[in-house]
Amino acid sequence: MSTPPSITDLRTRTHSGAVGIHDTVAGALDRMKQVKAGRDGLNIFVSLDEKHVRKHADACDGLLSHAEPTPLLGVPVAIKDNIATLHHPTTCGSRILEGYVSPYEATVVRRLRDAGAVPFGKTNMDEFAMGSSTEHSAYGPTRNPIAPDRVPGGSSGGSAAAVAAGIVPAALGSETGGSVRQPAAFCGVVGVKPTYGRVSRFGLVAFASSLDQVGVFGATVDDAARTMHAIAGRDPLDSTTADLPVPEYHRASERSLRGLVVGRAKEYFPDSLDSRIRARCDAAFEKLRENGAEVRDVSLPHTELAIPVYYIVAPAEASSNLARFDGVRYGLRVEGDGLRGMYEATRSQGFGAEVTRRIMIGTYVLSAGYYDAYYRKAQQVRTLITGDFARVFGSGVDVLFTPTTPTPAFPIGAISDPYEMYLSDIFTATANLAGVPAMSQPIGRVDGLPIGGQFIAPHFGEEMMFSFAYALERALGAEAHS
């Protein structure tokens, strides 16, 4: 894959007049055709109105000024289809929202536009972000640009693929249990999940509200850091955003790792871990050590409980969040016998199998008689998982480094057992449960398939996390992609 221009390149060249935004967008559209990103090919986008995107780029060209360039000036950014945009539909990869165009815009999209970026189409995803492969989309599976017979990961597979295919330097995704980091790992790009409360969820269609965060993909750490900076910060429209200043994450590149401590948690390196993935991680630890960081063995004993906790809490919240899709105010309506029949026909025909399964589990674990055994219990264990991180980070460890996934990208259709699929979130779901920031970046390949390494940092420790990511990226150089 050829590398598209980086965000700093685009910004500088757009500002100097060396390249017009129109040309950048035209280049991205050409690149789409070149890599066969369309329905019959990689199936990266659910919707992309070429004419509109070109028109928008022209309008942006018309507004160019000689003042200080905005942070994402002239940067096309692809957007996951569960984030509300004004022109393109927002379908969440679901039949139930087919053709639905939001009458308001997500805070993150507005912030991207304010930063000078050009929203570039809506990317494919597992329906309502429930999945780890982007196979569960009403609009067909997305293919991995690195290995088209393989999944790109999910649920933000389309956004990961758009960056991996060199169409855009950055894209927005969303995370609930690893939906940015896992596809970033599978596609060989950088994927960041910020601290819960760092980025506004206003306009992100809710899956599991206490876990959801908008995340970013970048071709490089710098692309991801700059995009994250543009969207982060308190939003009065999201009561769970934190009122804390947003550092300029790209400045973290200058920081040395000397004297910093990276934790190696044994629970993330089980005996069953693919030895080639382990070797890649060990090589990365070595690079970090060479850069002055101390590697320290640590333990987060409740890690193995993350999947059971996650698959109770997330479906429970989802069962409630998805109640609004009832055929009354928007989206699909299928007539049935009376009101009740309409509800049942609309929802059973509008939701796919995985979404139905999770609504069922979520409703079950919240229902009378089961709440304490499942939901309350899971939330208590979640507290223990959060406590693990607090203890480790409180003991002088600056970040943790782990593999992002237990395996590289698997072939399309290879996993049919839902629980087996859930296990691909095993190293990522912990960060969502604890609310801490985490990111994945390429650390090499196995059989030509990208492998991701994950940094996890304390709450609002993104800057520290980026320092490590920049340093590792520099240290690995071309090894990251070979």
């Binding site: 009561s239 409980l305 109770i312 409703t363 223990l384």
Partner: protein
């Protein structure tokens, strides 16, 4: 705690999901398998452990009691399945049907 077909039916009714008999049966099986994995939690001692109640210990930010509201840039008619005289229409409920009957 095995999930029975009746449980599946009850839960589907609560969630307003129409299920064929076949799908209900397969869901019972899937749910048992998945929930079986969740039983690992029951072995964990959580006595005295708080259940996470809303992430964000900073408390709840509030807003001033004033407008304007977030504007709708497309009208209700543009996205609602059925609108008449400004009302959203749904299949008829009898006057005193309570929520549970809907």
């Amino acid at each position: 705690m095995a999930v029975t077909i009746d449980d599946v039916r009850h839960v589907a009714a609560l969630a307003r999901l129409g299920l064929s008999d076949e799908r209900a049966a397969s869901l019972a099986q899937e749910m048992n398998t998945i929930l079986g994995h969740m039983d690992a939690l029951s072995a964990v001692d959580t006595s005295g452990v708080d259940a996470v109640a809303g992430v964000g210990a900073g408390g709840l930010p509030v807003r001033a009691d004033k407008g304007p509201p977030i504007p709708l840039l497309r009208s209700l008619d543009a996205f609602a399945p059925e609108v008449r005289d400004g009302f959203l229409l749904v299949p008829r409920l009898s006057t005193h049907d309570t929520a549970e009957e809907a």
